[in-house]
């Protein structure tokens, strides 16, 4: 749950703050810095970059507002970036208008009053200046600040142009927030030195403004109620801050190392999956090859070609790109080649809401191909879960010789949290199902293990194992045939092989009692809000609700049917119209209850809590 209301005097379990400004105001940058400093201060964090699809929407406009939300504090409270905000920084009227509904009553509101000009008010659809509104003053703890003016004054001796000086105002706001929330300036000054080491004027200006913002806070007697936030009691070990797409990239690289397969990642720029292609391209020193194809189709084609030739081929995209890749995904199913397809979901259909979160591609991932085309599907539930899920996708792809679709979403792809870093040596080796070089005897490309139905690959370059594969149905010798018996046998063999992956799925973790009244069943990024809802109810003494997050969507975990039987009701919260709900009902014939949201925004914990309470009282 989000923390209680201000005033910010006492020690708090956790606090949610949000920076909001124009899309060119540098809100993402200051949000990232605040997150970095918070983890170094010993807090758990969860961040949520909430930005428009346009790089620079018209200045001062409502559609151009860019936000960055950080939830920090004790780890038992920080599973999501927070339902509502304890402190809001609004750099202009539009940012105030868009973000104010998120601010709790009596919450702290830092406003850059210099931007509240007539024209900016008009752009934000304000008839009157809200800062002069008495109602507003009664509802919130408003701190109007001349951020632009104070920034300019702090830089009166700087050689920068007026325009450049004005661009430092986000750093002033950051400095002020650092004071109010008791953060050290040192990590950010170190960061500035690293970033602007070669531009001393810019470095000096930013440092000056950061300190000016901090000192400004000190002079504010009326607001001098600095907040102490309870530190996290994290398990001992080494941590780093990680975003979902970074986690996937590392999981893939470790998967490639643990399977001794070179990695080719092929992608095409698409929000919010581009940062995955970018991240992969930074690891050339480890031998990672990246290929930016001419389109989504080319990138999956290249990944399949690489897998055929003995590499680990991975491609990543978002929903519209998955549509384009569908025919090739079918080819990978038919030829039974290892391949990981990442879908960082976003709002749809069509171009939809490129920067907003949705989970409406589940059925597409499961069934969006022609023919009987079984596709293993797994999902990531948080930024720190992505590493393990990326590694797991590689394991399934290589050990079963199959394409695997990995569903992430925009909420976790670019959100960040601390991650307890595993030691590389603790990760298991992945056994590729391939024939070695030089083994004599006839090679039958589609001969299968009688138990697992897995076929073995022979890579080009392997003498004596020349063979042809393709999209046409074939017999076990890889000869093209439309023989009815053969087709039926092959359709069943492919289906059984994928169903058999269930044997390698670990027991499903349950948070809370394994029996009770309500089981919240989530998949993907809803996990954080679902977990927090149960944490909250347990704190309130309600122990009869539990939570299970489902990573494996096809095949489903073998223990899921039994788990559900131990609860009177099953609640499935999803950011779609009920796709997992349909799958669960169809598979297990259970009367699960849906909770759906399609607003391009994640669930608030309170929304899930309310639904659970409703079920508990019926």
């Amino acid at each position: 749950m989000s923390s209680d209301t201000l005033p910010l005097h006492e020690e708090r379990e956790s606090v949610v703050i949000r920076f909001a400004g124009d899309s060119g105001d540098g809100m993402q940058l200051v949000g990232e810095r605040f997150g970095d400093v918070s983890v170094l201060s010993g807090h758990d964090i969860s961040t949520y970059p909430d930005y428009p699809a346009e790089i620079r929407a018209p200045q001062g406009s409502l559609m151009g507002v860019s936000g960055f939300q950080i939830h920090f504090g004790h780890q038992k409270h920080v599973y999501t970036p927070g339902d509502s905000v304890d402190a809001l920084v609004a750099m202009n009227p539009a940012a105030l208008k868009v973000s104010l509904p998120l601010l709790q009553k009596k919450g702290l509101l830092v406003v850059n009053q210099d931007t509240f000009s007539k024209s900016n008010l008009k752009k934000a659809d304000y008839a009157e200046n809200p800062l002069e509104d008495h109602d507003l003053q009664g509802q919130y703890n408003i701190l109007p600040t001349a951020i632009s003016q104070l920034t300019k004054e702090a830089l009166k001796d700087s050689p920068l142009t007026d325009r450049e000086k004005d661009r430092c105002k986000n750093i002033f706001a950051l400095g002020l927030m650092y004071f109010l929330f008791d953060r050290s300036l040192t990590p950010t000054i170190d960061w500035l030195e690293k970033k602007f080491g070669k531009k001393p004027e810019i470095l000096e200006a930013n440092r000056t403004v950061l300190e000016a913002g901090f000192h400004y806070g000190e002079t504010l007697e009326l607001m001098a109620s600095r907040v102490k936030v309870k530190k996290a009691e994290m398990a001992p070990g080494r941590y780093r801050k990680i975003t979902g797409n970074q986690g996937l990239a590392l999981g893939f690289i470790l998967g490639s190392k643990k399977s001794d397969r070179s990695l080719l990642y092929a992608g095409y720029p698409i929000t919010p999956a581009s940062t995955l292609l970018e991240e992969m391209s930074r690891h050339m020193a480890l031998g990672v090859k990246t290929f930016q194809g001419e389109d989504e189709i080319a990138s999956i084609g290249a990944a399949i070609g690489a897998s055929f030739a003995g590499n680990l081929g991975i491609t990543g995209t978002s929903g519209p790109g998955l549509c384009l890749k569908a025919e090739f995904a079918g080819l990978a199913v038919m030829t039974e080649l290892p391949l990981v397809i990442v879908n960082v979901q976003r709002g749809g259909p069509s171009t939809g809401l490129p920067t907003k979160v949705e989970q409406a591609d589940l059925l597409q991932a499961l069934y969006g191909r022609n023919g009987e085309s079984p596709m293993p599907v797994i999902s990531a539930s948080s930024p720190s879960d992505c590493f393990e899920v990326g590694f797991e996708a590689v394991r399934i792809a290589l050990e079963y010789n199959t394409p695997v679709t990995l569903l992430s979403d925009g909420y976790i792809a670019n959100g960040a949290e601390p991650w307890l870093v595993p030691s590389a040596s603790t990760l298991p080796d992945i056994q590729c199902q391939a024939e070695g070089q030089g083994t004599n005897g006839e090679y039958l490309p589609f001969a299968r293990d009688p138990e697992t139905h897995i076929r073995k690959l022979a890579y080009p370059g392997t003498a004596g194992k020349e063979h042809r594969i393709g999209g046409l149905e074939k017999d076990e010798t890889s000869k093209v045939t439309s023989n009815p018996d053969n087709h039926e046998a092959m359709v069943h063999a492919r289906a059984k092989k994928v169903a058999g992956i269930a044997a390698s799925i670990p027991p499903t973790p349950i948070f809370g009692h394994p029996t009770g009244d309500v089981l919240v069943l989530s998949w993907g990024s809803v996990a954080g809000a679902a977990h927090s809802a149960i944490e909250y109810l347990h704190r309130e003494g309600i122990e009869s609700a539990s939570h299970a997050n489902i990573r494996y969507l096809n095949p489903l975990p073998p223990d899921l049917g039994d788990i559900m039987k131990n609860f009177k009701q099953v609640l499935i919260p999803e950011l779609n119209m009920g796709q997992f709900h349909m799958l669960i009902r169809a598979t297990y014939l259970v009367p699960a209850v849906p909770l759906n949201k399609v607003r391009g925004q994640p669930f608030a914990v309170t929304e899930i809590v309310a639904k659970i309470q409703e079920l508990l009282h019926t």
């Binding site: 983890v39 480890l286 590389a424 006839e442 003498a463 042809r468």
Partner: protein, 342 residues
């Protein structure tokens, strides 16, 4: 099925796989036979050759070659070939495509593959028609062509494959014909030996759906007059008794008689496939029947551009030299800004 590789020299028969199933009289048989001969000549072990195709009559080709093969999906063979070559640059990678597969649905991939200049070979069988789907007009069908989907005559303007390849700045652009086995063998060998993407158009006969075919060019009685075989460093001369030549008039070409005493061989253009003059290559490629003889041979072959896979490896090597070829996976996972909780 497959036989173990031996040290002995390979012959054409070593490359024969299952019996081909094209229509009797199809030009594809001649290409298959020549290709098997070319592969034997190249001396590359069978296991190091991968033949990749899309969908269409020509795309059945991999099934009939006793090498590694991948019959992929319509138009997308260049993308799979790209992945194969990037994964293992030691492989000899061949893309077999047609006018529909390569220039219609797959035009985009072909364009980008050629501009990147991977060291792969693209062989495009041009028969002016969608034959596997039984006779619809293709992107190379002449305007006005009556087909099942253009009963009143096609209104599409056709594309010239070699012009397309030049537009993509392919480093090797050649053309040959299925009825000219020796010429085909020579051009395919040159294509195979070229470092970079080589594009070869084969004028290929479909005996079922392309009745006009290429006979007006390649028929024995007309080929001397209607075709011209380009030879690097040689003047461009054609005609039964070498009585005609091609002269350059700056930004245009013209046919000149060599038997009237007015002109001599010295007036003819000397063919230069490696010229820096792009206009020249385009003018040669644009020569078309009936104003000009249709050029066969190597229209363009530029050796000065690095292949894509070499450039990629160069980058990887440079990064490793600069940062060290790291294998420290823990350092990778931890990143530069980790911290310890005691």
């Amino acid at each position: 099925m497959s036989t173990p590789a031996t040290e002995t020299k390979l012959t054409k028969r070593d490359f024969a796989a299952e019996t081909a199933r094209w229509c009797p009289g199809c030009g594809d048989y001649a290409v298959l036979s020549t290709m098997q001969k070319v592969f034997a000549t190249l001396g590359i072990p069978r296991e190091k050759i991968v033949v990749v195709s899309g969908i269409g009559c020509s795309s059945r080709f991999p099934y009939y070659m006793n090498t590694f093969g991948f019959h992929t999906i319509h138009g997308r063979a260049p993308t799979v070939a790209t992945g194969i070559k990037l994964a293992n640059p030691d492989l000899s990678v061949w893309v077999i495509t047609g006018d529909g597969d390569g220039l219609s649905i797959g035009g985009n991939h072909l364009l980008h593959t050629m501009r990147r200049n991977l060291d792969i070979n693209v062989v495009l069988f041009n028969n002016h028609v969608y034959a596997l789907t039984k006779g619809q007009f293709s992107p190379t069908s002449q305007t006005g062509r009556v087909t099942k989907t253009s009963p009143e005559g096609s209104i599409d303007h056709p594309i010239e494959p070699v012009i397309f390849a030049l537009g993509a700045e392919a480093t090797f652009v050649g053309r040959t014909a299925d009825t000219m086995a020796q010429h085909m063998e020579r051009i395919l060998l040159e294509a195979a030996r070229h470092k970079g993407t080589s594009f070869v158009e084969i004028l290929q006969h479909c005996v079922i759906f392309d009745h006009h075919g290429w006979e007006h060019l390649t028929g024995r009685d007309v080929r001397d007059d209607n075709l011209v075989q380009l030879e690097a460093g040689q003047p461009i001369i054609f005609g039964k008794d070498h009585t005609k030549g091609i002269r350059s008039r700056g930004d245009a070409l013209e046919v000149i008689p060599l038997d009237t005493g007015e002109y001599s061989e010295a007036d003819c253009v000397v063919h230069d496939p490696g010229t820096m003059n792009y206009l020249y290559s385009r003018m040669i490629a644009r020569m078309n029947h009936p104003e000009f003889p249709v050029p066969l041979g190597v229209i363009r072959a530029k050796k000065d551009r690095e292949t894509y896979e070499t450039s990629l490896q160069t980058k990887i090597d440079a990064v490793r030299k600069k940062r060290g070829a790291t294998s420290d996976l823990d350092a990778l996972i931890q990143g530069p800004d980790s911290w310890v909780v005691e």
